[in-house]
Structures are given as C-alpha cells and as structure tokens.
C-alpha cells in the first residue's frame, strides 16, 4: 500500500500502479494519478513548507490551484527543475524529486522561524517604513536581507532543455471549466453543431464531482457521467476537449490564452513532445464555467499543518483514497463541510466534532450528523489551535466569550463558504456586482460576448446549474449560426443543498485582537494587518492590498479577497461594495516563460537577415556586426591583425587602390508613376523636377516638424521612375511614411511604391582603381568619366546579368554601386573580386565605411542626428529647396525654435593631441574649470582614428557650432580633460576632386 493513510476501497486510483518519488531526500511511494499533495498526505506528511514572511510551518491547505502554502521545488533532472510548484496540482511521476522551499537548514528546524518571534517588526507596510533610510543601505543591506529572509523558491540556473509549442485556434464557443456546468454547456453547444473547445485545468474533467460523490446525473454516478460525457464530446468532430489546460487570461475581443501541460505528469516523456502548449484562442462566444473556491475560516493560528479546506479533505478521500487524519475536527459556517465529515466518518475516520459558528445550520445536514453519531457544536467557534509541526488540538468556545475547551485533533477541516471564481470574467473587463443576500461578488455587466454559468455565476443548486448551462450552450451555439440538433436534457440529484457562509474574521480574531489569524497564507497577512492598514489611512481596497500585500502573488484574491474586504468593511463601517474589489489580473495561475515565448529563443528569438554575399564574406574571414536584424561584414581581419590593424589597412587600401563593400542592406524603394516627380518633391526637401533621367541626387527626408527623418541617394531612371535608397535601419519606416502620405494626404497622385530592398544585391566598388576593375565586366554602358560622371545612373548589364549601375560615393573616392538582382549577387561579387584582388584592392566592412565617410563629413542619420536635428543644423541647407512651396517639413522648419540662434549644429572636432580618439557620446564644455553642474554644449556623435589623416577625427553636435570654428572646447572624461578644436567636417580632399577621378 502506498502510504499508511490510504484507505482500502476508497478513491479512484489503481493500487497496482505505483510510482516513487523523493521529498527532501526521503523516498515515498505513490500511486499513478496522485498529486504531490495527495501522495505526501497518504504518507502522513503534512508539513511541506515555511511561510513567506514569518517562516511558520505550513501544510497543504487545498486540493487545487488556489494552494497558497504547499509550494515545492520539483525536478526531473538537473536542468528540468521548477520552483514554486503547487503540490496539489503537480502529478507525481516515477523518479520525481521534490524539495521544500524557504527553509534552512531543514524544514522541521528553520532558523528563519525567528522572524515569527520578531513579527511585531514585520507588521503590514513594514517594507515601506523600516527600510526607508538611508537610501544607500537598500542595495547593500536591506534588499539582500529581505530576499534571503523572504524568498520563495530559487530560480533554476541551467538553460531549459525542453521545448514548448504555440497554437492559434478558432471556435464558435470556448468553455472554460469542465465540471457539471462546463460539460452541460459543451454538450448543448456541440449538439447544436457549434465548434467547441472545452478546457479544464485538472487531469480529468469533473470539477467538483471529484469530491462530491453524492451527485447523480441521469441516474449515473456524477464522476462517471463526467468521464462518459467527455468521451462522447471527444468523439465529436466539432469538439476539442483539453484537460490539464488552464484558461489563464481573457483578453480583448474574446481572445483567451490557454496553457496545456503536456508532459509534466509523464515518467518518460517523448522528447518530441512539447512540455507545454500555449493555445491562443479566438472564440466567437465564451462560456465561463469556472466554479467556485472554498474559503478558509479566519481564526487564531489557523495556519498549522493539518488545517485544510473541507472540500480538499473530501477530494483526498473520495478521489485519492487518502484520509487526511485519524481524528478530524471540522470548523464551519457552511453546510458543505458537513459532507466532508460524513464521508470521512463512513470511511472509518473519527470526527472529533463539527464546530459550527452558526446557531442554525441546515436541517438536513444536522439530521444526517445525528444519524452518523457526529457531535455538532452549533453557536461555537474554534478560537485557537495547538501543535508545532502539525495541529494537535483545537480550542472550542461558545460564541460570545465562553471558556475554551481543547479538543485533540490531528486534522482540522474548515469552510467559510464558497467564493465564485470571477477571475476570467473580471479579466474580460466585465464588472462584478455585489450580491448582498449571499455576500458575494457575481458577474454583473458583461463587456464581451460571454456568459457565466454554474457556481461562478452564483447558481448553487445542481439542477439549476445544469439547466442554466444547457441553455447557455445552446444559446451561444445558435448565436454563432449553428442550427443542428435538438434539445439536450439532463437531470441531476444530490444529497444536500448547501446554505450558509461567512466573510471576515471569526470569534477571537475580531477587532482589538492581535492574534495571528491568517487571511492570506501566501503573503502572511493576518486580520490585524488589514485593520492596521485601515488605521494608517488606507481606505480603498487597492491601497489596502498594496500596503499589506493581501491577495498579491499567485493568490490573486482566490482565498483572501472576500475575507480582506469584510475585515476592512467592518473597521471602516462601510458596506463591502463601497470598498470595491481589486481588479483581477492575468494570469489566473502562474504561466511559465517557456510557454509564453515558445520557439522564440536562441536562433529563433529574432530573424537574422543575411545579404546574398554573406557566405562569401564568411568564407573570407569577415567579422559580422548586427545592424537591426541584418548581419553586416564589419571588417576582414587577416592573420595576426587586430580590428584596428584591419580597419587601418582597409581604409588605406580604398583610398590608394580600391575596395569592395557589400551595401545590399541599404533600403530601396521604387517610386513609379506619372506623378512620381511631384510625389518626390513633396517627400524630400530637394527639388526633383530638375533631376534628369540618368542622374542621381542626395535626398533628405524630414518629418512634418522639420527634423531629419532619413536620407539617401535617389536615382532617376526615367521621367516616371525613381530608385530611392534609404538608411539600412530606416527602410520600413520610410516606406510606411511614404505610404501614409500617398494614401491619406496625396491620394490624387498617380504613384506606386514598391519595397525592393531584398530584390537588389548592391556591390560598392570604391577607389582610384574602381573603374579599371569594373570596365571589362560592364556591357552596354559607357562608364568613362565623361559619359558617366559622378552622380549618374544607367541600366545595362554586368557579367551578363541586368544591372542598375550607379556612379556614386560614400567614401569620397570615385566609386560605383553595382545593383544586380539578388540571386546574382554572389556570382557578380566573385567576378568583380576576381578583377579587384590582383589589382591590390580589398574587401572592406562597415567599420571602414564609417571611417571613410567621416573623413568626408558625410553624416549617418541616427548617429550624427537624433531626431532633433534640422538640415541646417547638419550643414545640409544646400539640399533644401528654396523654390518649392510645399514639402513635408516645410512649415516645421520655420518654427521659432528651429530658426533660433545657438542651436546645436554638426561640426568637426580635432583633438589638440592628434593621437587621442574621443569617445562617442562624450559631453563638450567651453570651460573645463567651471563648477558643477557644468554647461554642456553638446556631444560627440562620431569619432575614429583616421589612418589616412594620420590623426583622430570626430563629429559633434555643438551649440552654435558653426560660429565656433577654430575655438578650443573641452571634453571632460573621468580621468582627464581633452582639449579639442572646432573645425569643419571635411577632413580629406576638401575640394572633392577625388570623386571625379
């Protein structure tokens, strides 16, 4: 037998099928189908954890996902380890390793338990008060201390070896919860022909039927009916039944997130299976059948191991065949707990007494208790408990202050009634309404196309639940256009209808008491903490929640919410609905990062864009840099070269001989149509009507506010066709910007825009020998200096393939940019390289490209500009047409601040010591001895060692920069202050003669 507390003939697990696991190093036997909680209880283990703040010994409170105490660390192997797993949810598999958390050195003897003795210092809001001063102590003293003392589990450090799946799904009706309500709704919807997804967080359908063995549906045992119904639904083509699947988040427009736990319960999972699967469901209609959660009673020392919810004890008995004690007490304000006592009693467990704080419980349960010989103490309360690592007795007193009598127990079951699970409803932005008669919040105003049925809707009686659910299922199916089937009818019967329930603190834990009566077990919040919060001025439940941490973390109000509200309501003397209800946030229960990110990790985290020449570059030793998603060749080190050596060599070679550069990543947009010229005039500052076909021009694009948005060389291929280039990073947004204006402001223009970035491979051939390299390869284009001068474009052929050949330069050398269809890129590159290499040319990367352009003062939008720079600030006034009456940004440029004196302007900087290279981003001041805070004049935007100049060069944005030529400014650094001279931005070939070489 797997565990001394397993009762023969009870429960639904198969005794022959066993599994072994360890808890804190000790081996235990379990049955297949056990949860960690049921297996531990079967072995008489109640102590499973230490509480968050006070390190109090804690046991298993529940049999479901609301579990606040029994959080354990579960591992399959070294890498597959997960902390904070709720023991009642995790199914046991053979070989599983379970460790308790938040204790040192051992669970039974925990040093942190001293916090319990120091608890007066840990009152509500103590984080805010105790650790306020001095600020510096936070990092070094307080935070590490709090983290050690108050930590929950320890996060795994190894990479997660499992994989996760993601699926989008669509249906007519999504039903969350597969208890009586969900199954009935699913049956009705499915029979009407609707596409149905039914999900439930438990391994099997049935919900409350797991424990409520008195229910019969259509004459069949309730649990068996549930399984048969699920099988019937699964056999239907229009239905998907998902167990071990939690609907964790309800988002806009009936978009619901489900997480399916696929392998966590398997001993030897097929590694091809994902560990978890995220379902992103868009449902036309949603039915919420999420049930309700039993509340605990709030009384002194209500947190000892062995004290648990009555329905949990019933689940452990009726489903798992486990008796949670041998002499069990019951403390209740609700009839439902009686049935736990009845079931245990019939299974041979002694019931010490049922303590009912009501004077008049339901007649039916009283009669049954009498029949079974169970002592019932009405009008009594449990006012305290004893027992160090497990409850050993309950102190019972008559309400109103009689003397207390200790009754020995080894388990204590409690029930303060049931809280409808309105979490998903609330997440859907539905507004709950307080039902004063039953003292609970129920779905009120719906915000989306959904309906709540069964106990989450406040419907208590079995037959009423069935009928409501069948009706909702059919209604939702009809509403989504399904006309099949007839009416589904079901009839249910159960032993007792439950009455009663209370909220707030019980006897002995009321106003003016200081006992530890826990409201929120997970966050160690007691009734007195909530009263303290109110006394300190927190009058809204949202403030109380944040001050006390009540209902935070994984609880999300499942157990603590209503009690917290009732206690605040009592001290504030204001009705519960006036205090409000905290907003429920997704996820309903914790979701792993793995499920959320699915395959989006490692290489698949973000796509890598590679140019057609990437393989060649790789083979020739390029080091790559990331530019957006692009992988760009950064530099090509030769044997023994540092980056600095390689860049210096590449820079020299381009200016002295020639170089090949992969410029394919440049954004490219084809602007075509009879009004293309007009459109270009509006989108760029330049005048395009004067640009003849076959010529190119450097264009500047502004936003409407007058700031530089993008730039690039534009070639006019024909009257009605422009080949526009953009910055590498700017291509998508420039396209979007152009489309925006074309579609919404200038829709009368006949223009078509096509992104062609990836259609062209671009090979820049730059340097004195560029023409010599290309000439023999080009067909049909005269590339002589006279026929094809700087800033020209022609269409023709190169190496037998079509090309758009540009004569242009981003280096200041004579140069060409060879555009060929992307598929020919590598072959043409190789052909050019075969000519270039023997002539002494090199391949160069983006670093050399940056240095060479800076030597010429060519700006890079986004590096030398930052979204607050006008063309005038960047010395590009020549590119702004003065004749045009309209272009995007024309008005913005005239704004007072944009024409003001003293704006930051781009200038060159030469360090007084030519060997010193400035740091990009460094600040610039006029007076290095000025007291702090110093007046910053601007910052360095680009800075390099220029091998060709034999010194460092830099560009900077400096206030009033263009009027400071020749001035000495200073760049203060942590270790020294660097003197610089303001210069123009052209450091080489100021006349530009080399361009025409």
């Amino acid at each position: 037998m797997s565990g001394a507390n397993r009762i023969a003939g009870q429960g639904r697990l198969t005794p022959a099928r066993t599994a072994r696991f360890t808890f804190d190093g000790k081996t235990f036997d379990a049955l297949e189908g056990d949860t960690v909680a049921s297996a531990l209880l079967a072995n008489g283990v109640h102590l499973v954890g230490r509480s968050f703040k006070y390190h109090r010994p804690r046991g298993i409170l529940s049999a479901g996902p609301e579990e606040p105490n029994a959080l354990v660390d579960v591992s399959r192997d070294a890498a597959r380890r997960q902390p904070n797993v709720r023991a009642p949810v995790q199914e046991v598999f053979d070989g599983m390793k379970v460790e308790s958390q938040n204790r040192w050195p051992s669970l039974a003897f925990d040093v942190g338990g001293v916090n319990n003795l120091l608890s007066p210092f840990f009152a509500a809001g103590f984080y805010y008060k105790t650790f306020m001063w001095p600020k510096a102590a936070w990092e070094k003293v307080y935070e590490p201390f709090i983290r050690r003392a108050a930590g929950l589990g320890v996060a795994p450090t190894e990479e997660d070896p499992d994989h996760y799946a993601n699926r989008y799904a669509y249906c007519d009706v999504l039903i969350a919860g597969a208890g009586v309500a969900g199954l009935s709704a699913a049956l009705a919807a499915a029979e009407a022909g609707a596409r149905v997804i039914l999900c439930d967080e438990q391994p099997e359908v049935g919900g409350a039927l797991h424990y409520d063995t008195s229910v019969k549906i259509d004459g069949q045992n309730g649990y068996d009916w549930a399984q048969a119904t699920a099988a019937r639904l699964e056999a239907m083509e229009n239905v998907t039944v998902l167990t071990r699947t939690t609907a964790f988040g309800y988002y806009n427009h009936n978009f619901v997130g489900l997480v399916e736990r696929v392998t966590d319960h398997l001993t030897r999972p097929d590694r091809k299976l994902p560990r978890e699967r995220l379902w992103q469901v868009r449902a036309k209609r949603v039915i919420l059948a999420t049930g309700s959660i039993e509340r605990h009673m709030v009384f002194a020392n209500n947190d000892r191991p062995g004290i648990m919810l009555a329905s949990a004890a019933r689940t452990y008995l009726n489903h798992f065949g486990v008796a949670v004690g041998r002499k069990v007490g019951v403390y209740t304000a609700n009839d439902s707990a009686y049935e736990a006592a009845f079931d245990l009693k019939r299974a041979g467990v002694t019931i010490a007494a049922i303590v009912d704080n009501r004077d008049k419980p339901g007649e039916a349960v009283l009669a049954e208790a009498r029949k079974l010989g169970i002592e019932v103490l009405t009008g009594h309360s449990v006012v305290d408990t004893k027992g160090k690592l497990r409850v050993s007795s309950m102190s019972v007193a008559r309400n109103g202050g009689g003397s207390a009598r200790a009754i020995p127990v080894d388990a204590l079951l409690m029930s303060a009634g049931w809280t409808p699970s309105v979490h998903l409803f609330s997440q859907s932005r539905g507004k709950v309404a307080y039902d004063a008669a039953s003292g609970r919040f129920l779905p009120g105003t719906y915000a989306q196309d959904c309906l709540s049925v069964g106990s989450c809707n406040g419907t208590d009686a079995l037959q009423a639940t069935i009928e409501e659910s069948l009706a909702a299922g059919e209604l939702m199916a009809r509403a989504t256009g399904n006309e099949g089937g007839g009416k589904v009818e079901l009839s249910g019967e159960n032993a007792f209808d439950w009455t009663g329930g209370m909220a707030g603190s019980g006897e002995g834990a009321g106003v003016d008491t200081t006992v530890k009566a826990f409201v929120d077990f997970q966050n160690d919040v007691c009734a007195k903490d909530i009263r303290l919060a109110v006394r300190e001025g927190m009058h809204s439940i949202e403030h109380i929640k944040r001050f006390t941490t009540n209902g935070m973390a994984t609880d999300q109000g499942k157990l603590s919410n209503i009690h917290g509200l009732a206690i605040a309501s009592e001290v504030l003397n204001r009705e519960i609905p006036k205090i409000g209800l905290t907003t429920f946030r997704a996820p309903y229960t914790p979701v792993t990062f793995g499920a959320l990110i699915s395959h989006s990790r490692g290489d698949l985290f973000d796509p890598a864009r590679k140019t057609p020449m990437h393989a060649w570059e790789e083979a020739h030793g390029a080091v790559f840099e990331d530019v957006g998603n692009w992988k760009r060749a950064w530099y090509y080190p030769r044997a023994g070269e540092t980056m600095h050596d390689a860049v210096n060599r590449e820079c020299r070679t381009v200016r002295n001989t020639a170089g090949l550069f992969d410029a394919s990543t440049l954004g490219k947009i084809e602007v075509v149509g009879p009004d293309a010229g007009t459109f270009m005039n509006l989108m760029y500052t330049n005048a395009w009507d004067t640009l003849k076909p076959g010529r190119c021009r450097y264009g500047i694009m502004l936003r409407e506010d007058g700031f530089v948005y993008d730039d690039g060389v534009v070639g006019r291929l024909a009257e009605d066709r422009f080949h526009v280039t953009t910055t590498t990073g700017g291509a998508p947004r420039v396209m979007h910007h152009m489309e925006d204006y074309l579609q919404t402001e200038f829709p009368h223009l006949k223009v078509w825009l096509t992104s062609t970035t990836e259609q062209w491979a671009v090979i820049a051939v730059q340097g004195p020998k560029a023409r010599e390299i290309l000439e023999p390869l080009v067909e049909g284009i005269d590339i002589s200096n006279e026929a094809f001068p700087h800033m020209s474009v022609r269409e023709g052929k190169i190496c037998g393939v079509p090309t758009r050949l540009f004569r242009m330069s981003f280096t200041g050398e004579a140069g060409y940019e060879v555009n060929v269809p992307a598929d020919y890129g590598e072959a043409v590159w190789e052909a050019i390289w075969a000519r270039a290499e023997p002539l002494g040319a090199c391949a160069y990367g983006t670093e050399t490209m940056h240095v060479l352009r800076a030597e010429k003062g060519y700006i890079i939008v986004g590096q030398d500009t930052d979204g607050t720079v006008t063309p005038h600030d960047a010395s590009l006034s020549w590119a702004v047409s003065k004749k045009k009456t309209d272009f995007v940004g024309i008005r913005g440029l005239k704004r007072p601040d944009l024409v003001k004196e003293g704006r930051k302007q781009l200038v060159g900087l030469l360090t007084k010591d030519p060997k010193v290279v400035l740091e990009e981003g460094a600040q610039i001041v006029a007076d290095p001895n000025e007291p702090k805070p110093m007046k910053m004049l601007g910052h360095v935007t680009s800075s390099y060692w220029s091998e060709n100049c034999g010194r460092s060069i830099a560009m900077a944005l400096v206030a009033g920069g263009q009027s400071r030529m020749g001035q000495t400014l200073y760049v203060p650094m942590p270790d020294r202050t660097i003197a610089v001279e303001v210069s123009d931005m052209v450091f080489i070939d100021k006349e530009g003669g080399r361009l025409n070489g």
Binding site: Y251, N252, H253, N254, F255, Q280, R282, R429, K431, T445, A447, H539, S540, I541, E542, H543, K578, I579, G580, L581, T582, T583, E704, D705, H736, E739, D740, Q743, T744, E745, P747, T885, D886, I890, R891, G892, K894, R895, P896
Partner: protein
C-alpha cells in the same frame, strides 16, 4: 489582442496585422507653408486623448497595406465601426460613450479613497 475589421479586405483580422496611426480626420493644411505657429501647433502637436469614443487611423500593414479609419471606445476597446480613408467622419453622437458602468474599478474607488 484586438480584432480589427479592415474595410478593404472586408474581414476581421488580428491586431498583429495592423499598425496604429494616431488620430483620424486631421487633414494636412493645403497651405501648410503659410499657416501660423498656433495653427501648426494644433495640426501637428495637440491631440485630445478622449476617454470614450475616438476616431483613429489604422494601417493593415501586414495585410493589404491600406490606411483606414476606425471609431473605437477607449474604455472598452470596442470598435464601433471602421471605414475607408477619405470617407467622411461618421456621426456617432447617438453612440454611448464611456459611462460609469465601463469605468475601471480602481478609478471607481479612487474617489472614495481621496
């Protein structure tokens, strides 16, 4: 995740396929070069950020690529309608705007807390 009706594709598609484009029905002045600073400020910088009904632009950027306009309740995130660019602003004065019922719980209790 919103479900957005594209008036060009004539289909509801997931928000992933769209990009938001700011307020709708703000026409670029035809004489933009000549407008005053105040007029430019109103045109380019100032927006209402209403609680309730808003007219806004969307682009079906990963679909048909078209810009269109939509009327949405900023509290419930429900779309009242979407329509093609260039069509006049619909008169939706009969539509309920944000009411007490649709106001977040937190805000509802904030007043009491104050």
């Amino acid at each position: 995740m919103l479900l957005i009706y594209c008036p060009y594709c004539e289909e509801e598609r997931s928000e992933l396929e769209f990009r938001h484009g700011g307020d709708a029905h703000i026409a670029r002045p035809a004489n933009i070069a000549d407008i005053t600073d105040e007029e430019f400020q109103d045109y380019f910088f100032l927006r209402d950020n209403p609680k309730g009904l808003i007219f806004e632009r969307w682009r079906h950027i990963h679909g048909c690529g078209r810009f269109f306009n939509a009327a949405r309740d900023t509290v419930s995130d429900k779309f009242v309608m979407s329509y093609k660019a260039g069509e006049p602003k619909p008169n939706l004065s009969g539509e309920p705007t944000a009411t007490e019922k649709t106001v977040e719980t937190y805000e509802a209790v904030e007043g009491i807390a104050k």
